[in-house]
Symmetry: C2
Subunit: 286 residues, 2 copies
């Protein structure tokens, strides 16, 4: 089945969905994005994504492409048109195109580009990968300094994923000045003696929507949380570890740089948080 | 006049030139570029750009889109079709599209995307901006760590150009750990007591084609060159300063963070190097 995607007001077959070669998203990586999960045909944490999108756009002096209500309508229409029960909706906004290339931003009234498409992922919630847990390698974090803005500058995370694959692993955690920042497309955590440790928010990591929800749920479940810098060695010595992201929810980590965590299977706290998060998400999905 | 541009084998009117929304250049900034100047309808330093393009592609395990001879033919055809006497040819290669979005690279046989277009710039050589000299601000360098690879991750340089504009200046020099790396789209130099100082090549700066040519010509002209780290304060105390780039050649710098250099006009060494570089470039253009 050919997907129907959204480009600047039009619903199009995916094979006909294009942007100008002068689009600043293509020429300058001048764009931001969000990925919203779909479970049971409904959107998970939609409001969180809308708020973060606005934050990214504001940080870059980029115009909002449309209202929250319009975005919701487009998301829902794509989910419906493509018959998505479990999957993702990808959204990208760029500074658009004034028909040429210049480092300077185009005129402020240049219409932004808005692109959305779905990805069908049956079994997203009941994921075999989550039952197995992820094997992680560590790599140096050489990304730019504003990782709190969710830009499409994803070349290095993409390279990191390939380094992990090459090493027979699933993902990479990035390390800067000796401390773990985050995964290539997720926030990173370990658990030691019942305490969940994760890096505090700053410009150095993404302000994960799922991070926020999971920490709230963990706190409600009386789990202790310690937001602080941590090293790979600390995580390797942990009882368990996990990552959070909008598309993989809570993903247990079972190995870091060849060192097995606990008994080498997903830990109880990661499993429990995944369960609680999914329950809560499905309950509040719109 | 509508430009004719090149996209994956086709010569098209610029208004019809598009790429898939799934192109990794658009979704992931997974692409590299080159800009070649045109003077008298001929290409400046074409071989240098081809060599650097290959270096960027190799560094990212990206396929070459076509041969050097094919690239030359496309460059020349675009120059001819668009009647460019003085201007630029922009070239971008991306990892292409396999019709969906994934951090992992698509299959190695996925065809890369190749896009080229011209920009008509009458007066490029005899530039009024070069006669006036550029005013520079300094900003923190927060780009990723592999600036030697000429990727399209240009959001921060673009933001830097806007910061300069807002400050009533022309460009920004970036500073990391107290030392100047380079300009937003050029290499940076100052001259003190007849010695040209510029940062040595590393992964921290672009390996400028024009940098290489200008340093060779400076050396042939018996000028002393000292490749070393330097601070904004040193540059402010210099006799003169300049930048080099493929599109602006040698551009004198007359002010750094509000401090005038020398008598506030383009310095003799910058002017002389611009002259020599342009002479040599026109002589060897193809």
């Amino acid at each position: 089945m050919t997907r129907t995607v959204y480009v600047n007001g039009d619903y199009l077959p995916e094979t006909e969905a294009t942007v100008s070669i002068f689009d600043r998203g293509f020429l300058m990586a001048d764009g931001v994005y969000e990925v919203t999960s779909v479970l049971g045909g409904k959107l998970i944490d939609f409001e969180g994504h809308v708020v973060r999108l606005k934050r990214s756009l504001d940080a870059l002096d980029m115009a909002e492409p449309c209202s929250r209500d319009d975005l919701l309508e487009i998301h829902r229409k794509l989910v419906e048109l493509n018959g998505i029960d479990e999957g993702l909706v990808y959204l990208q906004v760029t500074r658009g195109s004034d028909g040429d290339r210049d480092f300077a931003f185009p005129a402020a009234d240049t219409p932004p580009t808005l692109v959305l498409f779905t990805q069908n992922k049956p079994g997203l919630a009941d994921s075999p990968a989550a039952k197995k847990g992820a094997k992680i390698i560590s790599i140096e974090d050489i990304r730019w300094g504003r990782r709190d803005i969710k830009t499409v500058q994803l070349l290095y995370p993409s390279m990191g994923k390939m380094m992990a694959k090459k090493a027979g692993c699933d993902d990479a955690w990035m390390v800067e000045d000796g401390h773990v920042t985050e995964g290539t497309s997720n926030n990173a955590y370990f658990v030691k003696d019942g305490v969940i440790v994760t890096r505090p928010l700053s410009t150095e990591i993404l302000h994960g929507i799922t991070r926020k929800a999971v920490l709230r749920l963990a706190s409600e479940a009386q789990l202790k949380i310690d937001e602080r810098l941590f090293t790979i060695e600390e995580a390797q010595a942990a009882d368990e570890a996990f990552t959070t992201s909008a598309s993989a929810f809570v993903m247990p980590v079972v190995e870091i740089d060849g060192v097995s965590l606990g008994d080498g299977t997903p830990g109880p706290i990661a499993r429990r948080l995944r369960e609680i998060y999914l329950e809560e998400s499905v309950r509040t999905a719109i």
